[in-house]
C-alpha cells in the first residue's frame, strides 16, 4: 500500500502539473483540497480524468469525486477497491 500511495502521488503530480513537487511533500492523510495541498474544483476534474485513464474508474458526479479525493489514503483505498485496470 505504501508503494501504491507513492505511485499515486507521482501520478497526481504529473496530472496536475505540479512541477518540482516531490511525493514526500504530500501528506498521506492531509486534506488534498482547501487548507491542505490547496487543490480546487478544477483539480478535482483533472483527478477524475486520472482515475478513468489509469484505473478505469468512471466518476460522473464531481461531488462524489471530492469525497474520494479527501486524502491520498482515501483515494488509494477507493482505487484498490474499485479499479478495473
Amino acid at each position: 500500500m505504501e508503494d501504491f500511495k507513492r505511485i499515486l502521488k507521482l501520478q497526481i503530480i504529473e496530472a496536475l502539473n505540479l512541477q518540482g513537487m516531490q511525493p514526500e511533500e504530500i501528506d498521506d492523510n492531509g486534506p488534498l483540497f482547501g487548507e491542505g495541498l490547496g487543490l480546487d474544483s478544477i483539480d478535482s476534474l483533472e483527478m477524475i480524468v486520472l482515475m478513468e485513464r489509469n484505473y478505469g474508474i468512471k466518476i460522473e458526479d464531481p461531488r462524489e469525486g471530492r469525497k474520494i479525493f479527501e486524502s491520498i489514503t482515501t483515494m488509494a483505498a477507493y482505487i484498490q477497491a474499485n479499479r478495473k485496470k
Partner: protein, 341 residues
C-alpha cells in the same frame, strides 16, 4: 480625439532581451529559421508550484509581464484590465483539439479548455493582484491591442476609471505556423513572431514620460483615406508633418505593403527619425505592442534605440511620435504620441 493615455510603465517579453533590462541595450538576437521566438523569463521567482500548475506558455509570460509592469509603476491594483490578442493561448486550443480526437470525446482534462478562453489571462491577472474591476479582451487581429487602448481611453473619458493595465499577448506554435504558411503569411518576406506587452496608463499626466494622444483605425482603407485621415489627425492636434520627430512604422519586409508606410515617410522631413521594429520581433497580430513599448521606453530614457533605426534623422529633442502599423493590408492603426518630459 481621445482622452490621452499617460503611460507610466511599459514591459515587453519578446524575441529580444527586452524584459530584464526593459530596454534594447543587450546584443540583438538574430532569427533562427523563419520564426522569432520569445525569451522566457525564470518563472520560479514569481510563482509557487501551485500557481504555476495550470498556466501554459503564454499565460505565464503574460502574467509575468503584467506583474513587472505594475511593479514598475508602483501599483498593486489597477482600476481596469484590458487586453488584446489575435489568437490567445494557441497551445491550449491545440492541446484540447488533439485531446478531443485522441480520446474520442471521452473524459478530457479541462485545463486546456479553460486556458484556451481568450480572457483567461485577464482573469489570472485579476486573481493574482486581487483586482475586482472592469476587465475585457479584444480579439480582432491587428486591431486587438488598439481597441484595448481605445476602450481604456473611453473609460477615462467618462470617468469610470483613472488608470488601467493594458496589454497584448501572442504566441506562435508549430501547427499554427503551418496554417499561416498555407494562408500565405510568410511567402513574401515577413517572418513569424510572438510576444507580450503590458502598459500601465493613467488619465493624468503625473510621472509619465509618454502620452498616447490619439488612435486611428482603418479597415482595408484606400490610400486616399489614409492620407486624408492622417492630415485630419495632425490638424486636429494642431501640428503638421514637420512636427513629427520620430516615425515608427510596422514595416515587415513584405514589399507588398511598403507603399503604405511610404505614404507617411514621403511626407516627413529628412530630419525625422524613421524607426522600425518587426526586424527584431517578427510579425504577429499584436506586434504593434513591441513598437509602442519601444516608444514608451525611448521616451523615458530620452534616447533612440540604435537597433531600431531605419533612417537616422537629425532631431535631438523628441516630442511628437507618429506610429503606423498595418497587418496584411487589413487592419491599419495609427497612434499619435507625445513625450511629456
Amino acid at each position: 480625439m481621445i482622452s490621452p493615455l499617460y503611460i507610466r510603465s511599459a514591459r515587453a517579453i519578446s524575441a529580444q532581451e527586452s524584459f530584464a533590462s526593459n530596454d534594447l541595450s543587450k546584443e540583438i538576437r538574430s532569427i533562427t529559421g523563419n520564426r522569432f521566438v520569445y525569451i522566457e523569463p525564470n518563472y520560479q521567482q514569481y510563482f509557487t508550484i501551485m500557481q504555476l500548475r495550470r498556466m501554459s506558455r503564454l499565460t505565464r509570460i503574460g502574467l509575468v509581464t503584467a506583474i513587472e509592469c505594475l511593479k514598475d509603476a508602483g501599483i498593486s491594483q489597477p482600476e481596469a484590465i484590458l487586453t488584446g490578442t489575435g489568437k490567445g493561448s494557441l497551445h491550449d486550443t491545440e492541446k484540447f483539439m488533439h485531446a478531443i480526437r485522441e480520446f474520442q470525446e471521452g473524459t478530457l482534462n479541462p485545463s486546456p479548455f479553460i486556458q484556451s478562453t481568450y480572457n483567461s489571462l485577464n482573469g489570472l491577472i485579476g486573481l493574482h493582484h486581487q483586482v475586482n474591476s472592469y476587465n475585457t479582451t479584444y480579439v480582432h487581429s491587428g486591431f486587438s491591442l488598439e481597441h484595448a487602448m481605445l476602450d481604456a481611453a473611453l473609460l477615462f473619458g467618462d470617468n469610470t476609471i483613472g488608470n488601467a493595465l493594458i496589454g497584448a499577448f501572442e504566441e506562435m506554435t508549430d501547427e499554427h505556423y503551418i496554417i499561416k504558411e498555407k494562408l500565405g503569411f510568410w511567402k513574401n518576406g515577413a517572418v513569424s513572431g510572438e510576444g507580450c506587452f503590458f502598459f500601465y496608463a493613467e488619465k493624468d499626466k503625473n510621472g509619465s514620460a509618454l502620452a498616447i494622444e490619439d488612435i486611428k483605425l482603418w479597415f482595408e482603407p484606400e490610400e486616399n483615406q489614409i492620407r486624408q485621415g492622417l492630415e485630419e489627425l495632425l490638424s486636429s492636434h494642431q501640428i503638421d508633418w514637420n512636427d513629427i520627430d520620430v516615425f515608427i512604422s510596422g514595416r515587415n519586409n513584405d514589399k507588398r505593403y511598403d507603399h503604405y508606410y511610404n505614404l507617411v515617410a514621403d511626407k516627413l522631413p529628412s530630419s525625422t527619425h524613421h524607426i522600425h521594429f518587426k526586424h527584431l520581433s517578427g510579425e504577429f497580430d499584436t506586434a504593434a505592442g513591441f513598437g509602442i513599448w519601444a516608444a514608451a521606453r525611448m521616451a523615458e530614457m530620452k534616447r533612440i534605440f540604435p537597433s531600431l533605426l531605419l533612417k537616422e534623422g537629425s532631431r535631438d529633442n523628441i516630442k511628437h511620435i507618429l506610429f503606423y502599423n498595418q497587418y496584411y493590408g487589413k487592419q491599419h492603426v495609427v497612434y499619435l504620441m507625445k513625450t511629456t518630459a
